[in-house]
């Protein structure tokens, strides 16, 4: 046991749940998971949401988030069993021996304190380093992680640096006390693909240079393949498969692992544009109220019936703003919106109710897009009432049809959103959009919050509905794999401009413009050594320039 840094044996974790309409009760969410980790090794924990990845990660610090409680098993860190120890002894372990990097550095940094103060806090508090030594070490780490101005960046407040930089600061925070084990919990999930590469490489280098061991938690197999020595696949609190990275990626044994590996393989043959677009926007320029700069510059696009226009780009590139302009939520300053051969008012208030009906939206967060106090039937029935004046039996029949369309049974009509899974919630939002019988549905990152396998099903459903209803989709996403799976036409946006536009075949074939090239090259590929290749490719290019 002494040569192992971390030994987890038969770990069982429970949580208190509060299902609507039932008494709160305890359930088990991790059912006896065991693994070992040697010094300097990286173990990837992978699985969908609810698999217990983060819960297991936090258990290595004997920490249960919210109502989560470790109910059984053993966790040995550096030859000590930590589950039975007192809080006072755990505090010596947390933050110095085992540290944690969370998914959202933006939320995990205290907004009221300077970065440096927070990075060195654990080391100084535990008496591991003096303030001066810790600060010097932090500066060294900032430099190693490729942060700009490593000497002074610590004097800034969290809101003064970018998301990617803050995520690297969080890594510095975790590495500063020279821990033996770092738990990385989806550290790059919230970042744009182009930023993700830099952070991933920085983390990988830092792990190698400091010789620290790590648990790397993610739902993205392609990402974990780049950084870990071993991978453990989890599903609903059970270990499915555990092996070397090479074996899991190239020779998965279990069927579930094979599904995860192949999930990105869905492709869709793009259709050529039709003669008459259902909507065109031309030379749109827009800015938000109270600001004095344009967020969209000269944006033009076409939507065709029964086809999907995918809008891709990083956060802040103007994707969602374009959708807001189309719906009239944000009136354009300049340019024209044509629908079905006529010009639409740029402003929501200037549009007829029937024009509003024709353009519906589905959002990323299905949770917050539904009123939690309304049943599914009420939610879907509302557009039927509002646009078509349906009542009584007629409305009930239509709701059941719609539920059938989204592959849910009629019994779902009496359920509340809280009783649905993430994928089911998104299905209800799709049904609500369909209920209006629109010609256009705007899908704003509708699969980004979903697990890969669930997202795949949603894409399939959307595609089938499109075939049947001949509706046009404007599909906003930052994920190239999703684009490949659904798009007919693609618009690549960057800093409020369309930098590349055309059919899928055109946009995704060389020669590329610089930005599209960077974007496509940044999408993690599920093979070993991909990360190094990309980084090398990039440095060669910058040397060539």
């Amino acid at each position: 046991m002494s040569d192992k840094l971390l030994t987890v044996r038969d770990l069982k974790i429970g949580a208190r749940v509060y299902p609507p309409g039932e008494k709160p009760h305890d359930i088990e969410i991790v059912h006896g998971v065991s693994f070992e980790l040697e010094k300097g090794k990286v173990l990837g924990l992978i699985g969908e949401s609810g698999a217990g990845k983060s819960t297991i990660g936090l258990a290595t610090m004997a920490y249960g988030r919210g109502g989560v409680e470790i109910t059984g098993g053993e966790v040995w860190v550096n030859g000590r069993e930590i589950l039975g120890t007192r809080l006072r002894d755990l505090r010596k372990l947390r933050g110095t021996e085992v540290t944690y990097v969370s998914q959202s550095a933006a939320a995990s940094f205290n907004p009221a304190k300077k970065i440096m103060e927070q990075v060195i806090e654990a080391s100084v508090h535990a008496g591991k380093f003096s303030k001066k030594v810790a600060e010097a070490r932090a500066v060294e780490l900032f430099a190693k992680l490729g942060l700009p101005d490593p000497e002074t960046i610590g004097n800034r407040y969290p809101h003064q640096v970018s998301g990617g930089q803050l995520q690297r600061c969080m890594t510095a925070l975790a590495l500063c006390p020279e821990p033996d084990l770092v738990v990385f919990d989806e550290p790059t999930t919230a970042l744009d693909v182009t930023t993700q590469i830099d952070v991933l490489m920085a983390i990988k280098d830092a792990i190698r240079d400091t010789g620290v061991a790590a648990l790397y938690i993610t739902h993205d197999l392609a990402v974990v393949a780049q950084v870990s020595d071993e991978i453990m696949v989890l599903r609903m609190g059970d270990m499915i498969e555990h092996g070397t990275t090479d074996q899991i990626i190239n020779a998965p044994v279990e069927e579930y692992t094979r599904d995860l590996v192949s999930v990105r393989s869905r492709v869709h043959d793009g259709k050529p544009p039709t003669e008459n677009p259902v909507m065109t926007i031309e030379h749109i320029t827009a800015r938000y109220k109270g600001t004095n700069f344009d967020v969209l510059h000269d944006v033009s696009m076409e939507l065709h019936a029964g086809q999907t226009l995918a809008v891709v780009g990083e956060s802040g590139s103007g994707k969602s703003t374009t959708a807001r302009v189309m719906t009239g939520l944000l009136p354009a300053r300049d340019g024209q919106i044509c629908f079905d051969g006529r010009t639409l008012s740029p402003d929501l208030a200037g549009r007829a109710r029937d024009d509003l009906r024709e353009i519906q939206m589905i959002y990323q967060m299905a949770d917050v897009a539904m009123n939690p106090r309304q049943t599914v039937g009420t939610i879907i029935g509302r557009p039927l009432e509002f646009y078509f004046g349906m009542r009584g039996a007629e409305k009930r029949k239509r709701i059941e049809e719609l539920l059938n369309d989204i592959e849910l049974g009629p019994e779902f009509k009496d359920r509340y959103p809280a009783e649905l899974s993430g994928g089911q919630k998104q299905r209800v939002c799709i049904a609500r959009a369909l209920a209006a019988n629109p010609k256009i549905i705007i899908c704003d990152e509708v699969t980004s919050a979903l697990d890969p396998l669930v997202a795949e099903d949603i894409l399939k459903l959307l595609h089938e509905l499109q075939e049947r209803e001949n509706v046009a989709y404007l599909f906003i996403t930052h994920d190239i794999a999703t684009v490949r799976a659904i798009a007919d036409t693609i618009a690549v946006m960057y800093q409020g401009r369309v930098v590349r536009y055309g059919t899928k075949a055109e946009v995704l074939s060389p020669p590329f413009d610089d930005y599209t090239d960077l974007l496509l090259a940044s999408v993690p590929e599920m093979r070993l050594g991909w990360l190094e290749e990309v980084v090398e490719h990039r440095s060669m290019e910058s040397a060539g320039n």
């Binding site: 755990l90 933050g95 540290t99 205290n110 907004p111």
Partner: protein, 318 residues
């Protein structure tokens, strides 16, 4: 100009505008009060000629608008007018009264504010356990009892039975600070009990709200102790709501002491106001009203300014 400076200037300008509006409201309000000043000075037996004379002398026949501007012009120069009943200059007699009221409010605040915040922190530390419940129960009970009743209860037990503090809080310039503090011990205790609960509950709620944040979890995973986490990570992010409620209570300490001052016959603004309301001495009532309004506006302005300064995003823009 940096953003936060612009916001500060806006707040101060808004405060001044508000004060002007309040002066109009007070003037208009006191003018529609029933009763006639001249009548109340001279009594029921006054002749119509005498009434007309005194009205002319006091300027009561002039149009309201010109009287308002006369009054406002005086205010700007620090002239609050003269009391109708005594003929004394209001500013000078109000000065010492205001000083006494502020003295009382100051000592109540010095005790109540730190105590409330400390109890709030303690309640968070032991949330849902007996110290939290005890603190909540005691402070809520004390805010629920009318302050004059608390005053009389303390007066009877502490003042009369135990003899620890005087039951009448007369102070004058001849007393030393120690003697003065002894004299106001009971009213300070009453005021503290009255304002404590509100501030403590708000501190508790504001910090508990912040305790849900991801950065608190980060702090926990750094191995910090609970009290360090609350003090270093939660409190700095709860300053704005806490300062807001503290300022409202400070304002209450100045403005709301009327009842307590009367109970303990303390020579402050409250008693002065009550005396002159009953005599229909309009200029005095107006002056007191304006000072109370100014206290409210200034303290709330301070709360806004502190909130702006406490926000790192405004202090250190990108």
């Amino acid at each position: 100009m940096p953003l936060f400076l612009k916001l500060l200037v806006q707040r101060i300008a808004l405060g001044l505008l508000l004060l002007l509006l309040v002066s109009m409201l007070i003037f208009w309000g006191t003018n529609i009060l029933p009763g006639d000043v001249a009548q109340s000075i001279l009594g029921q037996s006054a002749t119509p000629e005498a009434l007309a004379n005194i009205r002319a002398e006091l300027g009561l026949n002039e149009p309201a608008l010109s009287r308002y501007f006369d009054w406002l012009g005086g205010l700007v120069q620090g002239d609050l007018g003269t009391a109708l009943t005594s003929g004394k200059d209001i500013a000078s007699s109000l000065g010492s009264r205001l000083k006494n009221t502020l003295f009382l409010a100051f000592w109540a605040a010095v005790i109540a504010v730190p105590l409330a915040i400390f109890l709030g922190l303690l309640a968070v530390r032991y949330r849902e356990r007996w110290p939290d419940k005890l603190i909540s129960a005691v402070t809520l009970a004390s805010i629920s009892v009318p302050e004059f009743l608390i005053g009389y209860i303390l007066m009877y037990f502490v003042g009369v039975k135990l003899g620890w503090a005087p039951t009448v809080s007369m102070i004058h310039d001849g007393l030393s600070l120690g003697q003065k503090l002894n004299a106001i011990a009971l009213p300070v205790a009453v005021l503290t009990m009255v304002v404590l609960a509100h501030m403590m509950r708000m501190t508790r709620a504001a910090i508990l709200n912040v305790m849900q944040s991801a950065y608190i979890e980060t702090a926990e995973l750094k191995g910090l102790t609970m009290f360090t986490i609350i003090w270093r990570h939660a409190l700095p992010n709860s300053i704005a709501p806490i300062v807001n409620v503290v300022m409202i209570n400070l304002a209450y300490l100045v403005v709301g002491v009327v009842v307590v001052e009367v109970v303990f016959t303390y020579p402050g603004m409250g008693q002065y106001l009550v005396d002159h309301v009953s005599k229909r001495d309009v200029p005095v009532v107006q002056a007191c009203g304006l000072i109370f309004a100014a206290v409210y506006i200034v303290l709330n302005m301070v709360a806004d300014i502190v909130s702006i300064l406490a926000n790192p995003r405004l202090r250190h823009p990108k």
